[in-house]
Amino acid sequence: MTSNILDNIDLRTLGELLQQARKKCGMTQSDAANIIDAARTTMVAIEKGERRLKATELIKLARAYGRSVSDFVRSRPVIQPFEMQFRAAYQRSEGEEVQIEPAILRLEELCRNYLELEEIMSAPLPQNYPPEYEVTNMPLKASAESIAVAERQRLGLGDGPILRLRDILEQDVGLRIFYLEMPPKYSGVYSYDERLGGCMAINANHPEERRRWSLAHEYLHFLAHRRKAVLEFEGQYQRVPESERLADTFPKYFLMPTSGLFKRFNDMCRTHGKFTPTHLFTLAHYYGVSIEALAYRLEEMELVRTGTWERLRDRGLKVRKVQQELGLEDIPQRTDTIPLHYQHLAIEALDQGLITEGRFSDFLNVDRLEARRIAETLREHSSGMMEEASDFDLINMPE
């Protein structure tokens, strides 16, 4: 390595990265200038990419910003800052930026990591994207149901429950889905970038039924309003726009398709001669939706009387308690922050010696010890074997 990276690096990009890092830790240009014993104007020039940094200066700044030097000098994919996509949403809802910005920055960083891993492994995420659905001036419910039916057909889902919704959207569609902690009123975030494709963050703190609903909701945005970034939080609109109403309507058709639900409801009624609250709980568990969502769906299909949910609620129905009494186990769920494919790319990169253990830890956002635990688990899960024993090509396996 005879050449010096600071002589060859794109100074403008480096300057931008330094500026973003400085702002993230709330420092001014004067503060940063003091760290490297320089004038503020020097710092301005560095951030504009007009002055070459000395190695010692970069090290001092990285330490002050709490970042690794590697973050600034290694070759990383360039993506459009998510902040720009959400600018309109921030302007519409004053004060929200402060609350949700950490989750959006985290989503951006994770998406960039994902792309970096794909580049390291020369394995781009397979995308099975349908053309964007045209919904302008179409009736809302008919549009939502028609898209739900078409997508179920496209993905070979039949009319039964979609138990592993997150896995299907990640692996069969090729969306980047992260479960991140957000303030309670936020359910999710949707973003689209030409390089990344569709990206979602779902509130990790919500119960699985709600996360599944949010996944379906954001999926509709991907299907019908692909290039529009969306923040989802309660009380956002005085008048809910049509795009949101469509996204609110879609999950019930996607998660509880009319034909399948009708058949299962009928089977239950025929077998038992009635449809009891126990049946309601069992059916909601079967579809992986909340009791409330199923009750409203059955009311809408005129299979139970309008107001059934309100009457149950007014009687003091304790959903979690009844679920426990009925012995209904948690619905299948994968609550990891990062997608499975991302995890597998990371472990393959580590095992092939393409990234260091330290970088593997960074990609998983855990310390080295936890990274080693995850690595063991991933190796066991991927093949039931450990280490090199799992790193061979089964397609070309000798007889």
Partner: protein, 182 residues
């Protein structure tokens, strides 16, 4: 194991393994040259070492005790050349490995790491650096200090369980490790 240099500088993965063994001080005492760790590794890994702590294994305390007894010295960049090499290496491997390799290269010290990526990078980039591994050093300690098999087995088991370290199949000491663990 023969160290031809004046110092041996440890990378984060080795520090973690030695601390997990419960024998950090004893291992350091057995090494015939001064042992060092970079400031970068210390900053990054201290929290991880604290997570290793339990009644029978005081990893972070051992680490600080080793520094207090000068069995381990903390080193940082002392010249623009060292800093430049660090920044150059950081484009390829992460900060801990880069700092360790940069200092080892400029001061002509030996380094210890188990990281596959770091080993292949430094073997190619700075072939003059002697690179040792966790197992080479533990084996050396067991032989030099005349450690009984039970103590050695316990240390290796602690490294395996607490630090979740497994000797790679390609490691020349793999069969020694497997035998010693029994």
């Amino acid at each position: 194991m023969q160290i031809v240099n004046s110092h041996l500088i440890l990378d984060a993965c080795c520090v973690l393994n030695f601390c997990a063994s419960g024998q950090l001080l004893a291992i350091l005492k057995s090494i015939p040259v001064q042992v060092a760790v970079t400031q970068v590794v210390r900053e990054q890994e201290l929290k991880t070492l604290q997570r290793l702590e339990s009644e029978e294994n005081d990893a972070a305390t051992q680490f600080e005790a080793a520094i207090a007894q000068s069995l381990l010295i903390i080193v940082d960049f002392e010249s623009e050349e060292e800093a430049e090499s660090f920044v150059n290496y950081a484009a390829i491997v992460d900060d801990g490995e880069s700092a360790t390799g940069a200092i080892a290269f400029h001061r002509e010290w030996a380094m210890a790491t188990d990281d596959k990526r770091a080993i292949s990078f430094f073997r190619k980039e700075t072939p003059q650096i002697q690179i040792l591994s966790t197992l080479e050093i533990v084996k050396y300690w067991s032989e030099e200090a005349g450690v009984d098999w039970q103590t050695l087995r316990d240390a290796l088991n602690l490294i395996r369980v607490k630090a979740r370290y497994m000797a790679p199949k390609s490691d020349p000491l793999r069969s020694w490790w497997e035998t010693a663990m029994k």
